[in-house]
């Protein structure tokens, strides 16, 4: 083999290896990107039912208030599913851009469980907590908005617990307590201050 052929073969081999490494890194980056994308698939089948008027308690970062707003959404008959749909509509307002109180893409309410006649457990997606802005005030607005919207639309519910992806979590994003049960009386006192 001539010297020129050896060099040419070597260069070709190096090019092949380089291209292989480049393709491998492209594939890995693409996988990582796909993994980090929020899961925007619907978490339950679309609800069919007559449209009902509900009240959403919407948080506004500026000027830092929670205000009621009427909405018309299709609601199923089961109270737990109704609760989930109402909170789904509420969180949908925050996931939109622009929003007066932004929540991250992928934030949603997975389920609402009615434990007894006055206690509800709300299970949110991991994205809601993981991507939530950190701060006492913004976290408090989110909690107040979720709890008040649920209790206002499901008569009899006086205590609400919030889970994240099916598990108990210490705080929402470093400040707001998620280990406790929220009761309507103390929440009402807070909302009075946020009006």
């Amino acid at each position: 083999m001539t010297r020129a052929l050896t060099i040419g073969t070597g260069l070709l081999l190096a090019a092949v290896l380089g291209m292989g490494a480049y393709l491998y890194s492209l594939r890995r980056n693409e996988q990582a990107r796909a993994h980090n994308l929020p899961d925007t698939r619907p978490i339950s089948a679309p609800i069919m039912g007559p449209a009902s008027r509900v009240i959403l308690y919407l948080a506004y970062d500026d000027p830092g208030v929670v205000r009621p707003q009427e909405a018309s959404i299709a609601l199923p008959a089961d109270p737990a599913e109704r609760g989930r749909e109402i909170l789904h509509a509420l969180v949908g307002e925050y996931v939109k851009r622009p929003s007066a109180h932004e929540l991250p893409a992928g934030a949603d309410v997975k389920d609402v469980f009615l434990v007894d006649e006055n206690t509800a457990v709300v299970d949110t997606t991991a994205a809601l907590a993981e991507g939530h802005r950190s701060g006492v005030f913004v976290e408090t607005l989110t909690v107040a908005s979720l709890v008040k919207t649920l209790t206002a639309n499901l008569p009899g519910i006086t205590r609400v617990k919030i889970l994240v992806d099916g598990k108990e979590r210490e705080t929402l994003a470093g400040h707001a307590d998620l280990e406790c049960f929220y009761d309507v009386v103390t929440m009402e006192q807070l909302l009075e201050q946020l009006r």
Binding site: G135, F137, T140, E170
Partner: protein, 488 residues
């Protein structure tokens, strides 16, 4: 659940150990060395540590009240940035760079847990270069004066006593010993040209001035029992004869505009002793903390270590802002004679429940959880979202509702803090909020969230802004102290 019980028990043990550490490191004691720095706008104290027989101070903390300061350690090298100036030192080296100039230290540079410590004797020159100001250091008293700031005083004999006129408002701690009236100035840049002033006065025979450990002290020697009272908006202290019989008033309650100077004696005078004015009790020592419940404030700088808290802007982490603010608030409180314990005084991880456990174990009077946020403006003051009616009598306090008995006192204190902040022209609001771990604290407990002063999020870490907030909160605690103590 068994696991959570085990976790709480182990956290409790850790909390006790941490508490001992905190008490040993944070509670003011007779041996604790400190440096006081007096500037035109702020006065504060810094702890002094000893290395190789020399006094050292943390350079970053010394500069914090004056502007944006940050530091980072890369290996043995430590770099500090203050506004647009830089300083650079290497661990163990006695030569570094300050504001672009080569700078010789009178000892080795010490890097301790990423904190850069410089010999105390070098600090006046370093601050002089970084702040471009004149400095005057009183080495024996560990007092550093910046920009020619000084509070002078003169004596003015009066018909019924003696008046000390000061060139600026003062706020000393006043205590008595038989035949003496002592005034300790920690935050006031009080200076004197002479160490002893002999007087031809029917009440006062002499006034001595001394400086030590970051404090100036005026001792008034009396010929008769004496009382002291503030006048002229704290620009004067009047020394008058004490009533012959001490009235049965309660001990000097801290109320009104600051530490009272002239509450009458609280106990009948012993034979041959001189009853005189008693003001705020001195800061509690470790012994006094252990012996009886004292008025102690716990400052809980939010987050720390692995938990950075909110990312306020590209470079500003909440954990650093809260720690700097806690140190400023500590300085303000201690300057008003209030004992302080800190949940952390370094960038370390402390579990949220552990913070409440530390507060409860220390039996603090007030617990302040400090936070920072990029949203909104001013300061938001929070109390626990808990109903006071859920408090139950009994020897044991339920962990989850420990705050219930104190929530009214917390709300009253929050109102005072809000009012003081507004007085200092800092926008503030008061809310109840589900902030961890307020519900678990058996004392008046507040969470304080500092938001930017304007559009610039970075202002949340500005020294002057934090100092104003700290002064307002400290003043509110002084005002609310009587109520908090009454409800303990």
């Amino acid at each position: 659940m068994p696991w959570s019980k085990y976790r709480r028990r182990s956290q409790g043990a850790a909390a006790v150990a941490a508490l001992l550490l905190v008490l040993l490191t944070s509670a003011p004691s007779a041996e604790e060395k400190q440096l006081s720095i007096y500037g035109p706008r702020v006065s504060y104290s810094l702890p002094v540590s000893e290395h190789e027989g020399q006094d050292y101070v943390a350079l970053l903390e010394a500069l914090e009240p004056f502007g944006n300061v940050s530091a980072r350690a890369v290996g043995a090298k430590w770099k500090l940035r203050f506004n647009k100036l830089e300083a650079e030192f290497r661990q163990g080296a006695s030569v570094g760079k300050v504001a672009g100039q080569k700078f010789g230290l009178p000892g080795r540079f010490v890097l301790e847990n990423d904190r850069g410590l410089v010999p105390l004797r070098a600090l006046p020159a370093i601050l002089g270069l970084m702040l471009a100001t004149r400095t005057e250091y009183h080495e024996a008293g560990r007092r550093l004066f910046l920009g020619g700031v000084a509070t002078h005083f003169t004596t003015d004999p009066r018909e019924n006593g003696l008046r000390l006129n000061f060139s600026a408002p003062v706020n000393p701690l006043i205590s008595t010993e038989p035949g003496k009236l002592k005034m300790s100035f920690t935050r006031d840049a009080v200076v004197a040209n002479t160490s002893i002033l002999r007087l031809e006065n029917p009440l006062v025979s002499s006034i001595t001035f001394s400086e030590s450990n970051g404090e100036a002290e005026l001792v008034v020697l009396g010929r008769v029992p004496l009382l002291a009272q503030f006048a002229a908006d704290r620009r004067a202290i009047e020394i008058v004869p004490a009533p012959s019989e001490a009235p049965s008033a309660p001990p000097a309650a801290v109320a009104g505009t600051g530490p009272p100077a002239a509450a009458p004696g609280t106990a009948p005078p012993a034979a041959g002793t001189v009853p005189a004015a008693v003001a705020v009790p001195p800061p509690p020592t470790l012994q006094s903390l252990a012996a009886k419940p004292a008025f102690v404030v716990m400052l809980d700088a939010g987050h720390g270590g692995d938990d950075r808290g909110a990312l306020l802007n590209e470079t500003l982490e909440e954990k650093g802002v809260t720690l700097a603010f806690a140190r400023r608030l500590r300085s303000e409180l201690q300057g008003r004679g209030i004992g302080v314990v800190m949940s952390r005084d370094a960038d370390v991880t402390v579990a949220v429940e552990q913070r409440a456990a530390m507060a409860d174990a220390a039996r603090v009077s007030v617990y302040l959880s400090l936070h920072a946020a990029s949203q909104g403006h001013g300061v938001r003051v929070y109390t626990a979202m808990i109903n006071s009616a859920s408090s139950k009598p009994g020897g044991f306090v339920p962990w989850d509702t420990a705050q219930a008995r104190y929530v009214l006192s917390s709300r009253a204190l929050a109102e005072l803090v809000k009012a003081e902040l507004l007085k200092h022209e800092i926008p503030s609001s008061q809310l109840s909020a589900p902030v961890k771990p307020l519900n678990n604290v058996a004392a008046a407990a507040l969470a304080i969230e500092v938001a930017p002063s304007g559009a610039d999020v970075g202002s949340v870490s500005a020294g002057v802004y934090q100092q104003r907030i700290a002064a307002a909160i400290a003043e509110a605690i002084v005002v609310g102290r009587a109520r908090v103590e009454a409800e303990r």
